[in-house]
């Protein structure tokens, strides 16, 4: 009888303890979900609300707009969307430094005015020749090397190079609000891909560390590569010819080739992203597109319709009628770079 009553008392004691523990855990979990702001660097307003409402709708099984996790694909442009891009795409600073180093060994590689100007560090003159000059600079500076040596060189460069105007490391010029959005999407079951005109191997040098985006989720422009032998070892070698330009209509094409699913969410900043946003939002079911509008001359740069780099004209005109979010950097972002986050 004593044993029985002891046991009963103890079972009740255990049960009460367990109930209290489970309740406390549940309350803590609910509090964390309801009260933690997933996007603290975004100012409260329509842009932030619509981003969060979209993510909540597709990830909530009871919402009526639920989408299976395997289909939760978000695509982001890189230059001007995840990090800055002025006065020129950051990769071109690397290309110019590579050309300079290569020309010290062999000046005969500088076969054009564009290459000579780039190796001399005058990118403005080097890019006067437009896209053709840009492709020549990238092709020559990014070839005749193995992929692994190239990525190593890009990592070393990123560790020391500084932006000519801000004197910041380039990988510190990423956007804190976008780091939060990437993490929030992944927390809600999304795969977050980069789909950028930048070079795929250049980006892979830093995207995992800086954005948490692994190499298999980085889609970019490419020079031709070949399989061969270097120093007696099998190697992938970068060749001096363009294989794919991941811009404009090339972006949906590359998304189809590599991912094979239509994204739910696409974020870009220039008319080079227009086709990607159009392709995304033309899908059935819940889809969302957003454009980073560079309106912040104080903390970053202000440019759109007339810019040589990151020109945004058609996207700015049509975003409203298409229901695409226009992210007003000056107004919607409390912080731009992580270093200035509170």
């Amino acid at each position: 009888m004593f044993v029985l009553s002891f046991t009963h008392g103890c079972v009740r004691y255990v049960r009460n303890y367990l109930v209290a523990a489970v309740l406390a855990t549940a309350v803590l979990a609910i509090s964390a979900t309801a009260w933690a702001d997933p996007l603290p660097s975004w100012r409260d307003g329509e842009v932030k609300s619509r981003l969060i409402a979209f993510v909540e709708a597709v990830s909530d099984p009871t919402s009526g707009r639920f989408v299976a996790p395997s289909e939760r694909v978000a695509v982001f442009d890189n230059d001007g969307t995840l990090w800055a891009e002025q006065p020129v795409y950051f990769q071109l600073f690397f290309a110019a430094d590579q050309l300079k180093a290569m020309a010290e060994n062999d000046p005969s590689i500088l076969t054009s005015d564009a290459l000579k100007a780039a190796a001399a560090g005058d990118l403005k003159a080097a890019l006067a020749g437009g896209e053709e000059a840009l492709l020549e600079i990238v092709t020559v500076s990014h070839s005749n090397t193995t992929v692994s040596a190239f990525i190593e060189a890009a990592r070393e460069w990123l560790a020391t190079a500084r932006h000519p105007e801000t004197d910041m490391a380039f990988s510190d010029m990423v956007y804190q609000p976008m780091l939060e959005l990437l993490r929030y999407l992944r927390d809600e079951g999304f795969d977050t891909y980069i789909v950028s005109g930048g070079g795929v191997h250049f980006m892979r040098a830093f995207t995992d560390k800086v954005y948490g985006i692994p190499p298999e989720q980085v889609i970019g422009s490419m020079v031709e590569t070949s399989y061969g032998t270097v120093d007696g070892q099998p190697a992938i070698v970068k060749e001096p010819a363009i294989a794919f330009i991941n811009d404009k209509g090339g972006k949906p094409v590359a998304i189809d080739r590599v991912i094979g699913r239509r994204p739910l969410l696409a974020v870009g900043n220039s008319d080079g992203d227009f086709a990607m946003l159009e392709w995304t939002t033309a899908g059935s079911g819940p889809r969302l597109a957003a454009i980073v509008h560079h309106t912040d001359a104080e903390r970053e740069w202000a440019y759109d319709r007339d810019s040589h780099v990151g020109r945004l004209d058609r996207g700015l005109s049509e975003a409203g009628e298409r229901g695409w979010l226009l992210i007003d950097m000056a107004n919607d972002w409390l912080t731009v770079y992580p270093a200035s986050a509170p």
Copy 2:
């Protein structure tokens, strides 16, 4: 004092109960791990042991050969490795049926003897022209359609078409031992990619359902695609030109482009896979390559050095010295197709 001793007694009771419960759970978990055979269709022997030992070593944090989950990439050829490939690659039966249907609408598309023979169902005559004829057949039959319509057509075809010799559905001619290996690898944290000479869109019509391999983990050959408008809607259109042939040295090139990591494990069956296996095993740390050797004329087909389809010559000669596994289908596989699994 009573309360204290009550509480002490109860704590001990709870502790003992919890210890017993934890022990029981642990014993059950260990039993399941130790006694469930992850590869029941593989005959016990060196091939099976080495496969399991490799997977256990790279996924066991205490093994000294542990590899982080993000780097656990396995790549598989498809034709002759995951499903059969005789008397010709199965995709060619689809191409021939597509050509026949297309020619009923417009006979003028049959501009060569190879195309005419294929549309007439005589694949032997159609392929007398070798790789050039094969590429022509694929290019013409797989273009001037949207990607989504093409995948839908491939799905409809797979649902009804039958193999001319076995009278089986093509997607029933997958290898049960490979289905088990794919699942085992994924259970141990691997990403399992297909890296095949087959067309990427044709494979995506069935790989998710049949192998559990999602579209973003399917790498194949491709015709050119373009972004345009079809029936007023944005669409990806397949063009009549080859964009990439994912065979031989193209396989490591495509792995680098799409995955950006060197695989830990590569499985193929023909010399078209040699470069992929070589590239994989040339990496540092634990790597493994395996070749399916078609030795089973009774249950499947027996062929190697002299075969037109799936020729295996160099791989057969060098597998031993390179430490690559040779999977002897007749001996190492208890079951070939799922329908005959016990």
